[in-house]
């Protein structure tokens, strides 16, 4: 494919959580400083030529259409081009994807990608209020829960998935998160805990759902041929995909899959020239336990209807054949919308560089996959495949 290769040379993140003491500006500033400091050979911020900021719902903390200056204006980078990206739950990953286009095109040599979400400056009712937005009749009542839970019911009906198997996803990711200093939760739970936790939206209990989280993450990317100026261990973008499905829930055909994911995965695998069995790890969208189950099939980790076997057999555990969400995933680490995709790529970056400490997975093929799906009718998806080598 005729594109200039893009390398990741720095990654920074702040521990996710209910950060009542941190403003959104401070979250961005701290993750940016972490990112700068992570660059092995150092970087002069003046070398950053352009930036992309992902934030999905700044309205939640009283900010409206704030644009790209909401990033560079706080980092001492005012003056350089910066674009705000909103693409539902794939907001952060799509910010990286668009920044990568900027570098791949040859227009920019070095670019900054940031993602953040300040979700706890608003009460829970603020987030629930999403249900009243959109089309006053065609989408009224759509919260994150009411968009994902119907897929759980249909999937359970068609494939016999049990609530216990769904709960095992949450149990796995909470166990993984114990080892991740950036995770919102650092404690294990049991299947029984999940099943006995309060019902939020039939058939999902509270422990089947990700928390509301404040967080921010940054990545530095550059032209692959310039990467050695910053590090001897760059990570490369091997493939990227972005897919969409239909806008309204009544137009969506499948309630046992996310067709947007299927499309974005196909594009990303094709661009990377790999198959799912070449992945050493994956950070996938698990906003609800059911989401990760369906992701396994949409991303080609197994055939349709077989996701429950993957979780039953431990294939996706930290020491399994294909570790999924070793960071703890959205269920445990948290899901600050705009930060999530960027943070997932930071996690892959560390693993592919063998820097993930206690939670480091075995790197055999040198590929890691990142995935988000969300937005209206869960019809937006981004998949990014990173590698520790260029071919």
């Amino acid at each position: 494919m005729g594109w200039n290769r893009v390398a990741l040379v720095g990654a920074g993140m702040i521990p996710f959580g209910e950060l009542f003491e941190k403003s959104w500006e401070v979250m961005l500033e701290e993750s940016y400083l972490e990112c700068l400091n992570s660059v092995d050979k150092g970087i002069d911020p003046k070398k950053i030529q352009a930036a992309w900021i992902g934030t999905a719902r700044p309205e939640l903390h009283g900010q409206g259409a704030q644009g790209g200056v909401s990033l560079v204006g706080h980092l001492g980078l005012a003056g350089i081009p910066c674009t705000r990206v909103e693409n539902g739950c794939p907001t952060g990953s799509d910010a990286l994807r668009n920044a990568a286009f900027g570098v791949a095109s040859g227009i920019y040599d070095v670019a900054l990608v940031a993602g953040y979400e300040k979700m706890r400056d608003a009460p829970t009712s603020g987030l629930l209020g999403i249900a009243m937005q959109g089309h006053p009749l065609l989408t009224l009542g759509e919260t994150a829960m009411t968009m994902f839970a119907p897929k759980a019911n249909r999937y359970m009906h068609e494939y016999g998935l049990t609530k216990e198997q769904m709960a095992m996803v949450a149990v796995k990711n909470r166990k993984n998160g114990v080892l991740d200093p950036y995770a919102q939760f650092r404690s294990e739970i049991t299947v029984e805990d999940v099943l006995k936790s309060p019902t939020v939206c039939e058939p999902l209990n509270i422990l089947d759902c990700c928390p509301q989280t404040d967080g921010a993450a940054c990545l530095l990317i550059c032209r692959a041929d310039l990467a050695d100026k910053f590090t001897d261990k760059p990570v490369y973008i091997a493939g990227m995909g972005c897919g969409t499905d239909y806008y309204y829930q009544h137009e969506v055909e499948s309630y046992t899959s996310y067709e947007a994911t299927v499309k974005s995965a196909k594009e990303a695998y094709s661009m990377a020239g790999i198959t799912p069995d070449q992945l050493d790890l994956a950070e996938v969208h698990d906003c609800f336990s059911i989401t990760e189950i369906i992701d396994y099939e949409d991303l080609g980790f197994c055939d349709r209807g077989e996701a429950s076997q993957l979780i039953e057999k431990g294939v996706t555990e930290q020491n399994g054949d294909l570790p999924v969400n070793v960071s703890g995933g959205l269920l445990c680490k948290g899901h600050p919308l705009g930060a999530t995709g960027v943070a997932q790529c930071a996690e892959l970056y560390w693993h592919l560089r063998q820097e993930a400490g206690e939670r480091q997975v075995e790197i055999k093929h040198g590929y890691g996959l990142q995935h988000n799906v969300g937005g209206r009718a869960i019809s937006n998806s981004v998949v990014i495949i990173l590698s520790n080598h260029t071919d």
Binding site: T124, S125, L128, G129, A131, M132, Q133, G134, H135, P136, L137, L138, L140, G141, E142, T143, M145, T146, A149, P150, K151, A152, N153, R154, H157, T199, V200, C201, E202, P203, L204, Y246, Y247, Y248, Q249, H250, E251, Y255
Partner: protein, 481 residues
């Protein structure tokens, strides 16, 4: 020209409250039960379902053959505007239909009926729909809270294929204050129940009946059925006695202990109950009352009544399809007496906006368009100039089916006010093969919903903002087959 009833339809909400439960909350006593509208119902939604039933029973095409819609209620929603057009949308009625809202009395529906009768008798219209609907705002702990029920009746009047001819009408009116709800009051008030009973209800009904008898030169014994306005059981029995009406005559029109005082729907509901059972040749006397006015109407049942019965959803089915409200707290939530102290979340597009004017009509009409190249049905038509499946730009208009089954669903306990959890959201596969997404109603626990369950689209009040209701379709488990 002979004008009469050509069809009718009723609506009684599913929920019932035992009056003893209200009594227990306020140290009052009463027997029987009242029909209670759900939180997403009002006079317009109840009237719409009754109207659909009436159109089916009358066997007319409401898209072209309906010419008037006259509506009577003492629970009017707005002083400046009327929501009757919403009922017209559900019926997919023509824009040439003549709407009028009669109010300010529980006999408002009879003023509507007389106006419609005159329009038909004059030859101006062939088919007109008269609706009586009621959902009174009653104060917590009041006698009205104990007595009042919710419901709607729609009567199709016309000159063709009449099942009950209107023989004569007589009205009697004086200036009398019994109950009132002035513009500044949230609730119905009453001066003195016994004064209402003896000098309002009784005297006016006796006078109206007497006037009708004189015009027709007949007496109470000439009628097979007598239907009375039913404010409460003892008022009804007192007037029945004064009229010398016997139990046989009163047998099918008495519903006060099943559904409560239905106000503008009360005597019409009684008439529906009688028509459900009446034989050709039967004569019916209907006596309304409200606010110092009474109408006496004499009808004669024709041979056509039997043939139309298979298209009827009779009162008995609606009475049978019921669910008891468990306690006073649940009841108070339904009437609005008890509201969660939580600021309602504003909807993204306010009900007064042009967006709802554009799309709301087609949504309530279930108007969709079928792509000429790939046959995918796009919905609603207004927002789709390009087929979402194939990009085609040529379409044929179609109307979506009202019934289908659950493809999948969820039941959310957490929704922003004014929605109240548990709130179902249903993805349904309609019987015509199209998919529809809507909130659910009358689904109160996971026991009430499952995949493949049969559901029907009914029009309900989704939210109210700044006093303006938003009406849309919701899925209900099929209530009456």
């Amino acid at each position: 020209m002979v004008v009469g009833v050509t069809g009718y339809g009723i609506y009684i909400p599913k929920y019932r409250i035992e009056r003893s439960i209200i009594g227990k909350a306020w140290s009052g006593r009463s027997r029987g039960q009242n029909a209670v509208a759900g939180m997403d119902e009002d006079v317009i939604t109840m009237a719409a379902e009754a109207a659909l039933n009436a159109v089916t029973h009358a066997d007319i095409d409401s898209t072209c053959d309906l010419e008037t819609l006259y509506f009577g209620t003492s629970s009017a929603l707005d002083f400046e505007r009327s929501s009757l057009g919403v009922i017209g949308e559900v019926l997919r009625a023509s824009d040439e239909i003549d709407y009028a809202e009669f109010s300010a009395s529980p006999r408002a529906s009879f003023a509507a009926l007389k106006a419609c009768q005159d329009a038909a008798a004059s030859g101006r219209i062939t088919n007109g729909l008269v609706i009586g609907a009621e959902q009174r705002a009653t104060a917590a702990g009041s006698q009205e809270e104990m007595n009042c029920g919710d419901g709607a009746v729609a009567i199709m009047l016309g000159t063709n294929n009449v099942i009950a001819e209107i023989d004569e009408v007589y009205s009697y009116t004086t200036n009398f204050v019994d109950r009132w709800r002035d513009a500044d009051s949230d609730f119905v008030k009453e001066y003195e129940p016994r004064f209402t009973r003896d000098y309002g209800y009784k005297q006016h009904i006796i006078a109206a009946a007497g006037g009708l008898f004189a015009k027709l030169q007949c007496g109470i014994d000439d009628f097979d059925h007598v239907v009375l306005q039913q404010p409460n059981a003892s008022m009804v029995s007192g007037v029945a006695k004064a009229l010398n009406a016997n139990q046989d005559q009163l047998a099918h029109g008495g519903l006060i202990n099943e559904v409560g005082d239905l106000g503008a729907a009360s005597a019409l509901m009684g008439l529906a109950g009688v028509l459900d059972k009446a034989e050709p040749g039967d004569r019916i006397l209907v006596l309304s009352y409200g606010s110092g006015a009474s109408d006496a109407i004499a009808l004669s049942v024709t041979d056509a009544i039997a043939a139309k019965r298979d298209k009827l959803k009779p009162v008995s089915l609606y009475l049978k399809s019921s669910l008891q409200v468990e306690d006073y707290v649940a009841f108070a939530k339904m009437t609005g007496a008890l509201e969660k102290q939580n600021t309602p979340t504003q909807i993204g597009v306010p009900p007064t906006s042009s967006a709802l004017w554009r799309d709301g009509r087609e949504i309530r009409q279930l108007a969709a368009i079928k792509c000429k190249s790939c046959h995918y049905v796009n919905y609603p038509a207004t927002i789709r100039k390009i087929c979402v499946r194939c990009g085609g730009t040529e379409f044929d208009p179609i109307t979506l089916a009202r019934t289908g089954k659950v493809h999948t669903y969820c039941l959310s306990l957490y929704v922003p006010p004014p929605l109240v959890g548990p709130q179902a959201l249903i993805i349904g596969d309609l019987d015509d093969g199209n998919r529809y997404r809507a909130l659910g109603t009358e689904i109160n626990s996971s026991d009430d919903v499952e995949i493949d369950m049969k559901v029907e689209l009914v029009m309900r009040k989704i939210v109210t903002q700044d006093g303006v209701p938003v009406y849309g379709n919701v899925f209900r488990p099929i209530r009456i087959n």
